[in-house]
């Protein structure tokens, strides 16, 4: 148990006070009964099997923050980082600020924020590996970095920037509520360290001594509706009508005079010129740009290839064009295989990829990966039976299996694309949270799929001296449809973002300024693509001129797709907390990397954005360790362990409501 000192000051203890039955979101504060099977169990912290004597062990706890009082002294952040032994570039708790007014009627409001141990922990639901657990003890949402495989999805879904992805370690870690301190009745280290009378901690819905408010909102704090966070605020002092951020996130907060006086996020007022900023299109998510586009293209191409002959497009059948179809299938396998590899390598711990299936019940990532696995397996089956038939059996049997695989892949492909789109429907990322993602993904499926099929066949047919124009005329239809679908989505997206305001609108302003030239060029590219595809389809250009024209159009489509998808990733502005001038300021982080300041570890900015090499080293080491452990265990023991494990997983999946 955590050591309580003889001279432990009074303020460090959690007051044992009455709570209401339910919290402001209508949830029970008592999480389980004392008689529940979950009660009375040890948290097993660092091998300690003791059970804490905190009388309110099964009640939801949370932070109370008096925003009027925070002085931004970093004591909470420091106490947290010291206790959790965090390197400078990681912090579970961060203080940022918003400011407003003009000298000397100036106000700065500092906000200290960590994990809010939400009633509805979107991190837990989003995590594909089930590294997260919401405990009956204190309602703490704890994350196990050992289980985490570093996909970073929790950092996308959390509105408060609580989970911290460490690119060096290739894993996420976060605030653990100092459950070791709670077990002995002490407040977490941060709250005990507060010097401004701002940060406090206790049973949720209880107001600390001398405090009179327990609001769920303050300016700069994302809407509590997303996750029902367990933090309450006091903020009674009048703030200027408009509060701005010092970090480079282009947001400001404006009081809604017509409404309840709440502060709403708005795009920052900056006269930023329209620029290209092409190098800034590159990001950590580059592999996802390729993964999504390739997968969509492959799913689309397969559907065409499978459905085409059934719908009378005989040219696409393997009987008529065995070589071209074969080449196309192999190309698709190569492309999808490549996409799989890069998306796996994008993980912090690629060798733990199999954990992606751990949270089928809640995680859109697990579902995407599962549907991808199904599609890819069936697709591979289809490819296999296209080239081989099973020995000793009637050839019809293999043909049947091929057909079954084909139908399966035809169905699971779009399911996979749909599941993929669900990943991005995140409330904490308003720029993404729009049906445009669906039209874009299915648009690309149609466009890139038909483009892939069209180009391969055009080359194949041309090589045989045959005409390909009729085929492409047909393929121009889904191609155009896809492009139109994409365009319609984008139009609606742009209209809705402006209307909705907030982080989405801010991202859209960035889109039209910082990336303005790029964005408008992409839009022009889309329009030109639609026109050219339709035109070429109608004209039916054949031979070398046709081949050249279609290649050019194809290049244009691929370029616009790449730029469009890259914009999609780099533009998103999360509903995150305001940063400070240096700490948690993306603008400074970029500057520190460019100027070389980041080479000094004490600057707290990692010099690189990518630590692929270290992660591969680790993967190699851990796989080696795993193999030697398995060797020691022996095959039989391994299999039985696996069986037990799978059984447990299944039981869990079906037992929880």
């Amino acid at each position: 148990m955590f050591e309580v000192r003889k001279d432990e000051p009074e303020y460090a203890f959690i007051p044992n006070v009455e709570t209401p039955q339910k919290n402001q979101y209508g949830k029970e504060i008592q999480l389980v009964d004392e008689s529940d099977a979950l009660a009375g169990q040890s948290l097993n912290i660092n091998g300690d099997s003791g059970v804490g004597d905190n009388p309110n062990r099964y009640k939801q706890h949370g932070f109370h923050f008096t925003a009027d009082n925070c002085i931004g002294c970093h004591a909470c952040e420091a106490a947290c980082s010291e206790k959790n032994q965090l390197p400078a570039h990681i912090s579970f708790r961060s203080v940022g600020y918003v400011e407003g007014g003009s000298y000397p009627a100036y106000k700065r409001m500092n906000i200290s924020m960590a994990c809010n141990h939400c009633d509805d922990p979107v991190c837990l639901k989003g995590c594909p590996t089930r590294a997260y657990t919401k405990f009956a003890e204190y309602g703490a949402v704890l994350q196990d970095p050992e289980i985490c495989f570093g996909c970073g999805y929790c950092t996308w879904v959390c509105p408060y920037n609580a989970p911290q992805l460490d690119p060096v370690q290739g894993q996420v870690s976060k605030c653990n509520m100092c459950v070791d301190r709670l077990e002995v009745g002490l407040k977490p280290a941060c709250a005990s360290a507060c010097l401004g009378g701002a940060l406090d901690f206790g049973l949720i819905e209880t107001t600390p001594e001398n405090r009179e408010q327990a609001k769920t909102k303050i300016p700069g704090f994302p809407s509590p509706e997303i996750t029902n966070p367990n933090i309450r605020f006091q903020q009674v002092k009048t703030l200027p009508r408009e509060m701005t951020r010092t970090d480079t996130m282009p947001l400001r907060y404006q009081r809604d005079e017509q409404g309840e006086g709440e502060y709403k996020p708005k795009a920052a007022l900056k006269d930023t010129p329209r620029e290209w900023n092409l190098p800034k299109l590159r990001s950590r998510e580059d592999p996802l740009v390729l993964f999504t586009l390739i997968s969509q293209g492959v799913v689309g191409a397969f559907a065409l290839l499978f459905l085409g002959p059934l719908l009378g497009l005989d040219l696409l059948s393997a009987d008529n064009n065995p070589v071209t179809v074969g080449v196309l299938l192999l190309l698709m396998v190569a492309l999808q295989g490549f996409a799989l590899v890069i998306s796996t390598m994008h993980l912090g711990k690629p060798h733990r990829f199999y954990r992606a299936f751990n949270n089928l019940k809640y995680s859109p990532v697990s579902r995407e990966v599962a549907s991808l696995a199904v599609f890819f397996t069936l697709f591979m089956g289809y490819v296999f039976f296209s080239f081989f038939s099973l020995p000793f059996l009637h050839p019809g049997f293999s043909e049947g299996l091929k057909y079954v695989c084909g139908v399966g892949a035809l169905v699971s492909g779009p399911v996979f694309i749909y599941a993929m789109h669900k990943i991005y429907r995140i409330q904490a990322r308003p720029f993404w949270n729009h049906w445009q993602v669906l039209t874009s993904f299915f648009g690309s499926t149609l466009t890139l799929g038909s483009l892939l099929v069209g180009l391969v066949f055009a080359v194949g047919l041309a090589a045989q001296g045959e005409s390909f124009a009729p085929l492409l005329t047909v393929l121009a239809v889904p191609m155009t449809l896809g492009l139109v679908l994409e365009s319609v989505g984008l139009l609606a997206h742009s209209r809705d973002l402006d209307k909705a305001g907030g982080e989405g609108a801010a991202a859209h302003i960035q889109q039209r300024t910082v990336f303005g030239n790029t964005y408008y060029s992409r839009n022009v590219g889309l329009a030109v693509s639609i026109t050219l595809v339709a035109l070429l389809g109608l004209v039916g250009l054949d031979g070398l001129p046709g081949l050249l024209a279609w290649t050019l159009v194809g290049a244009l489509i691929i370029a616009t797709s790449l730029v469009g998808r890259a914009l999609f990733y780099v533009l998103v502005i999360p509903t995150t907390m305001p940063g400070a001038f240096f700490w948690r300021n993306q603008g400074f982080q970029e500057h520190a990397r460019e100027s070389g300041l980041a080479e000094m570890p004490q600057v707290g900015v990692l010099p690189q954005t990518d630590y692929h090499h270290q992660q591969m080293e680790r993967a190699r080491r851990e796989v080696k360790e795993d193999i030697s452990r398995l060797k020691q265990l022996g095959v039989k023991a391994c299999l039985s362990a696996l069986r037990v494990n799978v059984q447990q997983r299944l039981q869990e999946a079906f037992s929880r409501g």
């Binding site: 660092n46 240096f582 929880r656």
Partner: protein
């Protein structure tokens, strides 16, 4: 468990594996927080925490204290003595004997060639009191130079000088407990949340329990100013005018404490005559605070049962620093607010042991607040040490800020710097570089080999820091607290006490004077010398100090404990036993912004850093909050100049130029910029630092500069990066 894994995995939390906690006191600012350092089974310092039962901090620590244990293995520490012939040579690692012999020989050579005072010593506010006392013994008793000072001249000299002028002696009269009793608090140029977070916490806790008005005088909207009931955004350098005007209103409206003045103050008439000239209307035109506010504050302060003032560098670091302190003292004297609970004039000190150096280092006189100018004091010390009193000069020599110009012009040829970094800390860096180049011999004694001033040294002494040593320090409220030796200094670095003792042996008088080996024996000498004096510590010893988590002097031999306040009986330390009310005529000698240099340059601290960052710049979890210098600038002013947020701008003054990253904020007025002073090659490349006539403290916070947009941002980033070696 409500969601997530049915089979709970054990929870792993980082743990420090502490087997022993050792008591010590923080070595950064002079709040004087008690810290326990946790050692693991290997004896490594792995964590730290505030001592729950210590009155000062009651379990709390600020960011610097929280990470202080990381200093023991921070980058840039020196672990071998270094030597070189010329400053352009590379350093050579060598033995203590060689460096000590060489230094002693050079001191003797320089003194023999150019005179006894041509070798100067400038120390610090960071080493332990026993070390200060020993250094004083060495400097005054063995080396015998009169040009011996501490870098406290850069921070607390004005407070010392003001206290001496008003009360007849140094020594802050109040304590933190006064916050619990006061009915009105004025903070003059003091930003507690950033500079002294724990004192802020004590003040805020008191104010939450018992609301009292807080008035903040500061040209910048600091966090404290924002939380104040009244914020007086004063024109830089005009505090004395505001103080005179407050006194004017109090006297004009008959709000003064006449009985107190009559019984305990002298020179009332001259004082009263002068403040008559500073009616609120006249004053408002100079200090920028309107007449109604002046009257309001004066009445509030005078009518409060107990009123107190605190101040920091906003007062001390100005051309009227000493006068400002005197003015604050006078304000408290005429309202009867000295030495009573909640009524005091309390300087909030900067360095952890600035008080220790003031009390015991002999740098402005002789140990125990004794003066070189007093024959009796010289004789007492000479006989205690066993030397001829004639060895002592009869008048104090130069202050740090006069020593440097004397090096520049060749009167001083050799210098020993102890725990101070003038290359970053003193105004006008270009001039300091030129000055240091002129030295025939420079010794730098510091825990960090990468301290910037080492660029110009011939010999470097690596020292232990903070709890690698043993001894006491005195905090802002006169509390003597213990630094226990938690771990040993790294490599061959040594405690400063050891170095002074070794050096003493190499001088003639060093053979005669006793130089005890241990800090507690040194403390015994100080205790003996303090008997019956204002700063009596004769009731203390190291053990008692630790038991009581620090004791406030005076504590006489038979007393149970110390004294929270002094002057409570109205008896002051001037010969007549009275406090002096001193008239303060105001002459505006500041470099005021003009057409060529239209901005005030203001400077100050940030909470995560200490002084020149030799320590805090190494600790990532502190340094990351301001890893590179920045400038707060008003967005309206920036717009006119085409300067953008998070871009580099160029500063130019009559001294030089610098580049700095711009942070636009309405925290500063349109004609002022604010730059943290901690960073090498930044603010002090342009600062002026006119000297206060009494304290010789530089006016760091007032000078005029120009700000220019920089077209070549990459080039500016390169310039800035080059100056950031840590």
């Amino acid at each position: 468990m409500l969601f997530g894994r049915a089979k709970k995995n054990p929870i792993k939390l980082p743990a420090h594996d502490v087997v022993e906690w050792k008591y010590t006191t923080c070595g950064y600012c002079s709040t004087g927080c008690s810290i326990e350092v946790g050692l693991n089974h290997k004896g490594e310092a792995v964590t730290g925490r505030g001592v729950g039962g210590a009155d000062v901090n009651r379990g709390k620590l600020c960011i610097k204290g929280i990470f202080e244990h990381e200093l023991f293995h921070s980058a840039g520490r020196g672990n071998k003595p270094l030597i070189r012939e010329k400053i352009f040579d590379d350093f050579r690692e060598t033995s203590w004997d060689e460096t000590l012999d060489k230094t002693a020989a050079e001191i003797k050579r320089i003194q023999a060639t150019y005179g006894r005072d041509s070798f100067a010593i400038v120390s610090t506010g960071q080493i332990l009191t026993e070390e200060f006392y020993t250094l004083g013994k060495l400097a005054r008793g063995c080396i015998g130079t009169n040009n011996y000072d501490g870098n406290t001249t850069l921070c607390m000299a004005s407070a010392v000088s003001g206290y001496k002028r008003s009360f007849g002696s140094d020594g802050p009269p109040g304590c933190y407990d006064d916050f619990n009793h006061t009915d009105c608090l004025i903070a003059w140029g003091s930003n507690l949340p950033e500079q002294h977070p724990i004192i802020y916490w004590r003040m805020r806790e008191a104010r939450e329990k018992r609301k009292f008005p807080l008035i903040v005088v500061d040209p910048r909207v600091t966090m404290l100013a924002q939380f104040a009931d009244m914020h007086l955004p004063i024109t830089p350098g005009t505090d004395v005018v505001l103080l005179n005007a407050l006194a004017h209103v109090i006297l004009a409206e008959g709000l003064e404490d006449r009985d107190y003045i009559k019984a305990n103050c002298s020179d009332f008439d001259a004082f009263s005559d002068l403040v008559k000239q500073y009616d609120p209307v006249t004053a408002s035109k100079i200090c920028g605070i309107d007449e109604d506010t002046i009257r309001n504050v004066a009445r509030l302060y005078a009518k409060a049962n107990a009123a107190m003032s605190i101040w920091t560098m906003g007062i001390n670091q100005s051309t009227h620093g000493s006068d400002g302190v005197v003015g604050i003292n006078s304000l408290n004297l005429i309202t009867g607010n000295i030495g009573k609970p909640g009524g005091t004039s309390l300087s909030i000190t900067g360095q952890c042991n600035a008080m220790g150096t003031r009390e015991w280092s002999s740098c402005s006189g002789l140990p125990g607040y004794r003066l070189l100018e007093k024959e009796q004091d010289r004789e007492e010390i000479a006989s205690f040490w066993g030397i001829d009193p004639e060895f002592f000069p009869k008048k104090r020599g130069m202050a740090q800020t006069d020593i440097f110009p004397a090096i520049e012009t060749g009167q001083i040829k050799g210098l020993w710097l102890i725990g101070t970094n003038p290359m970053t800390s003193m105004p006008n860096t270009a001039r300091i570089r030129k000055t240091l180049e002129r030295l025939e011999f420079l010794v730098v004694q510091d825990a960090y080999a990468d301290v910037e001033t080492n660029e110009y040294s011939h010999v470097y002494f690596p020292t232990g820091l903070w709890a690698e040593k043993n001894g006491v320090m005195t905090n802002t409220e006169r509390r003597v607290n213990l630094i226990s030796n938690v771990i040993d200094p790294p490599g061959e670095s040594k405690p400063d006490l050891w170095i002074f003792n070794q050096m003493a042996r190499r001088f003639e008088n060093g053979q005669k004077i006793k130089f005890p080996e241990t800090a507690s024996e040194v403390f015994d000498e100080m205790r003996e010398l303090s008997k019956g004096r204002f700063l009596d510590i004769s009731g203390m010893d190291h053990e008692k100090i630790e038991q009581q988590r620090g004791i406030q002097w005076p504590m006489t031999e038979d007393a149970e404990t110390g004294s929270p306040r002094v002057y409570s009986d109205g008896k002051f330390n001037h010969a007549d036993g009275k406090a002096k009310l001193i008239p303060l005529p105001f002459i505006d000698n500041n470099e005021i912004p003009d057409e060529d240099y239209p901005f005030w340059l203001n400077s100050g601290r940030v909470v995560e850093h200490f002084h020149t960052r030799t320590r805090t710049g190494k600790i990532g979890n502190q340094n990351k909050f301001s890893p590179t210098p920045y400038m707060e600038m008003n967005p309206d002013a920036a717009k006119e100049l085409g300067i953008e947020h998070m871009s580099y701008a160029r500063l130019a003054s009559r001294r030089g130029d610098a580049v700095v990253l711009v942070q636009l904020t309405q925290r500063v007025p349109r004609n002022m910029v604010f730059i943290p002073f901690h960073f090498h090659e930044c603010v002090n490349r342009v600062s002026l630092g006119l000297l206060d006539p009494h304290s010789r403290q530089p006016a760091f916070k007032q000078c005029a500069i120009r700000v220019e947009a920089v077209a070549q941002q990459e080039a500016a980033a390169v310039v800035n990066r080059a100056a950031r070696t840590f």
